[in-house]
């Protein structure tokens, strides 16, 4: 039997100082077209701002875009802050240019999925829609 679900709410954002938002904006458009409710932060957000917005907006997942090389410090910081604020159940995923070796390390730290450049948009949509089914 189908269970009535509230629409999936996802925060999509840019963390750190990099201004590359070509990819993330296309992701936002694709997810919205797929019926996902998106809160987009805009650029240059700190981990503190990301987590505060996520809690205020009561999102189920956070997707962060990052191409600056600062992923190894910024993403673990987001996870740490989520736990501190009692929001450890929020799924963190992301995408952007990072070295191959860093993907397993981020996953071990608690980043659920990392999308690399040239990922078909449908893969991202399928992943995010899948989060709804899991709940």
């Amino acid at each position: 039997m189908a269970v009535a679900t509230t629409p999936l709410r996802v925060l999509i954002g840019k963390v750190g100082l990099d201004g590359h938002d070509r990819g993330v904006k296309l992701v936002v458009r694709a997810l919205r077209d797929a019926g996902v409710e998106i809160i987009y932060t805009g650029l240059h957000h700190t981990p503190e701002q990301i987590v505060a917005t996520a809690i205020q907006e009561d999102v189920q997942a956070i997707g962060l875009s990052l191409h600056s090389g600062a992923h190894n410090s910024l993403l673990p910081r987001v996870l740490e802050l989520l736990k501190e604020r009692g929001a450890g159940d929020v799924t963190l995923f992301g995408g952007g240019i990072i070295p191959d070796d860093d993907v397993p390390r981020l996953k071990a730290a608690g980043v659920q999925m990392w999308f690399r450049p040239a990922t078909p948009m449908q893969d991202i949509v399928t992943f995010v829609k899948g989060l709804q089914i899991e709940r």
Partner: protein
């Protein structure tokens, strides 16, 4: 007729391409009016009569990573390999006007470029490099005036007269609001600060290019070639307008303006873009400002191969892409060129990769014999027709932007941002529909990722920078430093020229972050209209 492989052939920017081009495509086109001679109006064929027969383009590889000392070593290596100009890449905190010890800089110091927070860092960056013998390009925008003041202060300390210095600061804030998104202040004071640097260079540093009006980042953000051309040249007109309104004679500064274009995959479209850019600029400058010096009409440019065309899959293929793009820039008549290294989609380039990228330019220059005749594609039905199309379509954008009340108003309404985002979405759609192909990504894939060595930046770069800044703050005269910032704020508040006060502040050991924070108190900060 043989059936064609596709129903419709289009350029990378979506321009319809016919089966064959003939004189029918050039009705109304006049070789005298529209082509001219190289070095003569409207400069379609190049800004110099003899072009590469007299002087090759400047081979200028963008470099910067880690600490000032790391980058200084790379500069010396590149000069030893035959590079003819320097080009500095700064890290993100520096680009945003933040010191390396700012909490917002954590994890980013030295990653995407070199970390420069003080005059002392700048001195180490150029240690042992004769500033009166090389030209230096610095990719810095929001805090450009501050970084420029540091460079001038280094020269002054070494006793080099400012009028011997040659180089470029990017200093183009409009394309930051449109595409690259590293800004400090709102448009009005930012443009005034840019005009200030233009006026200062005209008076004191005459060989310096105070601005590099950039389409590169607009293209990387997903624009078409037409949009890159239109928005960049319209930005150029916006700066010239501001400088003329501030009372500068167009001929005192226009010869020092420079441009910076992307060179993407569509070989002929890119060549046509360079040619259309020169013609459109010459015509618009003539029509709007009637300069007396012909050099005020000439569009000088730097080009960089398209970073967004590189793929992480089969990275060695990037060498081939870059070669084709570099050849297009040369056939387009660029004045300087950066060729991307094959590993730049993964990280900053290793020494081996950047050497190969430089060798690519050297092979084009020395072995391909493409440099012998000026504008060798001039008169080609196809290339002339494309050049006309690009100029016409860019003019359409000019009319729309004029109608909106200019570029600042257009940016505030999100117009160029939305046009670029729509174009990038169309391109993404074409890739996913298999209408466009990328070797190694959509076609000819390999199951295993080929890995190549990449450059890693360690956390010690940040730790050392933080320690150096702590020492600097202890070693300086706090009253002198604070006084220099107060003086700067007073000058900014009453719209006086800031360059002398900026030089005093950097010499009093005020840091980049402190100076930018002081100016933000006067100018305010920029809040982006989010376009989705």
């Amino acid at each position: 007729m043989m059936k064609e492989r596709k129903n419709r052939y289009t350029s990378l920017s979506g321009l319809e391409i016919d089966q064959v081009y003939t004189s029918d495509h050039l009705t109304g086109w006049s070789p005298e009016q529209d082509l001219g001679r190289p070095g003569a109006f409207p400069y379609t064929r190049g800004i110099y009569p003899t072009m590469y027969r007299s002087r090759l383009w400047t081979m200028r590889q963008f470099a910067g990573f880690g600490s000032a000392d790391d980058t200084n070593q790379r500069f010396k290596y590149l000069l030893a390999q035959g590079q003819t100009g320097l080009s500095v890449a700064f890290d993100l905190p520096t680009l945003m006007g933040l010191d390396s010890d700012d909490p917002r800089a954590r994890g980013e110091v030295g990653y995407c470029g070199v970390a420069i927070s003080s005059l002392a860092d700048m001195e180490r960056l150029f240690d042992g490099i004769p500033l009166d013998q090389v030209t230096t390009s610095m990719t810095i925008n929001g805090p450009a005036a501050v970084i420029f003041a540091m460079y001038l202060a280094v020269a002054e300390k070494r006793g080099i007269p400012l009028h011997h210095l040659g180089g470029t600061i990017q200093n183009d804030i409009l394309k930051e609001y449109i595409a690259q998104k590293e800004w400090l202040f709102p448009p009005e004071p930012h443009i005034a600060l840019i005009v200030d640097t233009i006026a200062y260079c005209a008076a004191h540093v005459p060989k310096w290019h105070p601005i590099s009006i950039s389409g590169y980042h607009i293209r990387e953000a997903g624009s078409t070639a037409v949009q890159e051309l239109a928005f960049t040249l319209y930005n150029g007109v916006t700066y010239v307008d501001a400088a003329v309104k501030a009372g500068l004679d167009v001929d005192t500064f226009a010869p020092q303006l420079s441009f910076f274009f992307n060179v993407h995959n569509d070989f002929f479209e890119e060549i046509a873009k360079f040619r259309a850019a020169r013609r459109l600029w010459a015509r618009e400058m003539e029509r709007r400002y009637h300069p007396k010096n012909p050099r005020s009409l000439q569009l000088r440019c730097h080009a960089q191969t398209a970073g967004c065309s590189l793929t992480a899959q089969q990275p060695m293929n990037n060498v081939v892409r870059t070669t084709l793009q570099a050849l297009a820039a040369v056939l387009g008549g660029t004045q300087s060129l950066h060729t991307n290294s094959m590993d730049e989609t993964l990280a900053l380039p290793t020494e081996e990769a950047v050497t190969l990228a430089l060798r690519t330019q050297q092979i084009i220059a020395s072995e391909s014999e493409t440099v012998n005749s000026v504008d060798p594609l001039g008169g080609s039905y196809f290339v002339e027709s494309l050049t006309n199309r690009l100029e016409e379509e860019a003019r359409d954008y000019f009319r729309r932007l004029d109608g909106m009340g200019g570029m600042v108003k257009a940016i505030e309404s999100g117009f160029p941002q939305r046009e670029i985002l729509d174009a990038s979405q169309r391109y993404q759609h074409e890739i996913e529909q298999q209408e466009r192909h990328i070797v190694g990504v959509t076609d000819h894939m390999e199951p295993e990722r080929r890995s190549i060595p990449i450059l890693k930046i360690g956390p010690e770069v940040e730790q050392e920078q933080v320690a150096r800044l702590s020492d600097l703050r202890k070693s300086r005269d706090p009253f002198k430093m604070a006084g220099s910032l107060e003086e700067l704020q007073a000058m900014a508040a009453c719209h006086q020229s800031l360059m002398p006060a900026l030089m005093e502040a950097v010499k009093a050991k005020a840091t980049l972050g402190e100076i930018c924070a002081a100016l933000k108190e006067v100018y305010g900060t920029y809040h982006e209209p989010v376009v989705l």
